[in-house]
Symmetry: C2
Subunit: 176 residues, 2 copies
DNA sequence: TAGAATGTTTAGTAACTACTAAACGAAGTA
DNA sequence: TACTTCGTTTAGTAGTTACTAAACATTCTA
């Protein structure tokens, strides 16, 4: 039983769309990345439109978002007014960019607010019943430790390149 | 300048709400977890309602979701018809549960579809131009390797307990 | 058995998101 | 200058989500 190559591409695109949505990105983003990723040459905006079935407007905005994440690169050719887009193939590089992007986001400000809670409790500048304050202090501190651990993990991972990454995962999987 | 303890609790709850939303969960979920987490004793549904400002219905459904993720535990007391809820304090345990939950999700089926694409290409059962097939094969294989690396990383992390986790992150951060 | 206490389910809603269609802008070309 | 060609922006929409309010189910108690 043989499969049509065009069909195969569509299946792949569909798969990446779902994955994209699962990771909290629009599914159109996944589709655009997919067609760029399996294209041997950079594609123009209209070619992406044609291959994804999205409209120009959608592709225009989402391709920019992808570029901000470092997942695609925009280029232009001399004496050609079109822009061309191609996929980044070094995913580890992209991870770095994504994590960096998220650092300035409201997420970090939320994490910071937990840290502030902790600091207020530690500095003794909170009025209230002593036993309860002590209890909350310990809990919040444990949570903060957890966040710190997660943070240093992602920092470490984001600093690894393809080679180092796979080495570490192998080591970790041996750890059982 | 001293802070009111009640105010502090509210700030903490607000912070966790935002973090929850950032991670793709309802913000109410974060609020519920927060009030349970800093409560010295298990709370009844109505107490959660009162402390979060959510309605009974919302708390009822979301507390169940939290329990499914292993982030809260439901208990009941003899000769008391109320249910009581308390927060799980071992986050690493919860991570395990969350990752496990996600494994059966549609995410995995999407990842599987990428693997199928790869397998079809490798088995030679795809019709089409040879050079293009070869190109796509290499690209999809690289993507699959990346997914595998991510997968083994999360598997490894999910197997660690609090102690092992922090050890690994320390090692990783020394790696530069 | 009626009534109260507790938790669940359901119907509806407000806000958000990812899009489409189409107007618009900018910049080359006849 | 008018006419394309390409990309962006905007207004509107269908679908989703996280909730509220209220009906409902269950189980204990008087």
């Amino acid at each position: 039983m043989t499969t049509n190559l065009t069909q195969l591409k569509q299946d792949f695109t569909e798969g990446l769309s779902q994955i994209s949505r699962f990771w909290g990105f629009p599914k159109g983003m996944g589709a655009i990345f997919a067609v760029l990723y399996i294209s041997p040459s950079p594609l123009s905006l209209d070619e992406i439109v044609q291959q994804t079935g999205l409209t120009k407007g959608a592709v225009s905005t989402e391709v920019r978002a992808l570029a901000r994440l470092g997942l695609v690169h925009r280029s232009s050719r001399l004496a050609d007014r079109k822009d061309y887009y191609e996929a980044e193939t070094d995913f580890y590089k992209s991870i770095r960019a994504i994590l960096k992007e998220r650092q300035n986001s409201e997420f970090d400000s939320a994490v910071r607010s937990v840290r502030e809670t902790l600091e207020k409790l530690e500095s003794g500048s909170v009025s209230g019943e002593e036993a309860e304050k002590q209890f909350i202090l310990e809990r919040v501190r444990a949570l903060q430790d957890f966040f710190d651990a997660l943070d240093s993990l992602t920092r470490a991972v984001s600093k690894l390149d393809s080679l180092g990454f796979s080495t570490v995962t192998k080591v970790l999987s041996i750890l059982k």
